[in-house]
Amino acid sequence: MRRHLHKGGAICILLAGIATLPLVANAEVSRGQILASTCFACHGTDGKSPGTIPAIAGYPPEVLERQLKGFRDGSRAATVMDRHAKGYTDEEIKLLSEYLGTLK
């Protein structure tokens, strides 16, 4: 997770008291993150499901990628994931799997 500091290389330096400084943010919003965020409604925020739907946080990316492709081509049984997986390209599956793999 890389931190984004400043736009356009400009740096604002404040000499005011540290105590009043806000938290400095943050990671760049990435395409993998955006794609993976759509999983969270059913699988819980950051893939940590609180209920009956399987958790997906921290899966090894290559395993997740293989499973999603299995849902997509029908070789892996599913109730709804086959219908979802058909909506993603190889590249999108790779990006979101890589992002989910970073979550603990």
């Binding site: 997770m1 931190r3 984004h4 500091l5 400043h6 736009k7 356009g8 400009a10 740096i11 604002c12 330096i13 404040l14 000499l15 005011a16 540290i18 400084l21 806000p22 938290l23 400095v24 943010a25 943050n26 990671a27 760049e28 919003v29 990435s30 395409r31 955006i34 794609l35 965020s37 759509t38 999983c39 969270f40 409604a41 059913c42 699988h43 819980g44 925020t45 499901s49 609180p50 209920g51 009956t52 739907i53 109730t79 709804v80 219908r83 979802h84 997986a85 058909k86 909506g87 993603y88 999108e92």
Partner: protein
Amino acid sequence: MTQISRRNFIKTVGAGGALGLFGLAGCGSDNGGSAARAKVVIIGGGPGGATCAKYLKRFDSDIEVTLVEPNASYTTCFGSNWVLGGLANMDDIVQGYDALKTTYGVTIVQDSVTEIDPAARKVTLTNGDTLPYDRLVVSPGIDFRWETVEGLDASTASAIPHAWKAGEQTRILRRQLEAMDDGGVFVMCAPGNPFRCPPGPYERAGMVAHYLKQHKPRSKVLILDAKDGFSKQGLFQAGWKELYGDMIEWVPGSQGGMVDRVDVNTRTAYSDGGLNEFKADVLNFIPRQKAGAIAHVAGLTNDDGWCPVDQQTFESTIHPGIHVIGDASVAGAMPKSGHSANSQGKIAAAAIVLGLQERPMITPSHVNTCYSLVGPDYGISVAAVYHYDEGGIKGVAGAGGVSPADAGPQFRQQEADYARGWYASITQDIWR
């Protein structure tokens, strides 16, 4: 993510001595530089607004996020049919704002916005206070077009409930069902498109039938529909037949289902200019809908009563600087659902954060999954994946669709389990 940011901040300060580094909006933005943090105000603490608040903070904890919501808690419409069926209690579908406040640092203001000033970029609350914003998110949900039915208005909703905003309305309808005699007729009038939760009326029919089958088995469920077809129709009708026999009857709009007048005192619905008359013991009228009131006050709506937006960023095409999400927005192929609102809340948050960073928007991707219970152990679903393409949100060809028609009981049971799992997950993803 907040914690990571804190650590990073400490490292930054540690390395830079007494010099603090201001990120993003603090530098040369149009908010004057003194407060130096971008301000985002969100109107509405439902699935759209609450998700957007949480994800703004997750994407950039430096942004000041203020959520304005009149109620201390939110009762979800999703799950409210389960309360009517006796599968859940009201307490099970109430969500609070504590986690948004304490875990994510969102400021919660329990009040209503009476006015939006898009030019001065501020909103006014009922107490007269104003809140300035750099970006405003409007997630007001729906309001009802009472003028489209004769005999009903907001004041009659305690006698003829809509129960299409959950809470007291859900309680009223449940009490009426409990008070109904065995052999009575429950009549539900389903609205024309577009409306909140397309499968909702039909899930409700099954849940009411489940309750009646157990407690008042001679009763009937009659659906008078303004439409000639509905979401997951084949699956619902097959499920009704299997679980409830002939208890549920559906009347399409072209065959007398389009109710245009109601007599509140006799609980009678009339269609086709009085040609057809339906006497109910419990009458549940779900009116036609439009965007929530503040969207109209602020001039964010089109002639149809909904809010047109840039479907990539959800920024209003009428007032720049204001994003409209959830049921109130015109969101291409996406249905008006809690799941859609959740997805849109994330994309609007990303659009705002990237915009403040002067970065290009990432092409958004959305998902919608609507689970419905036909019975306690009988779940069905419709799913779709959406991409932004050529100016609009479109369903990805070949993806999505409904549960298989020929699935066995184990599949239906599993989808019923996932329906409950979906509720647990999405409410966590929105409010916690």
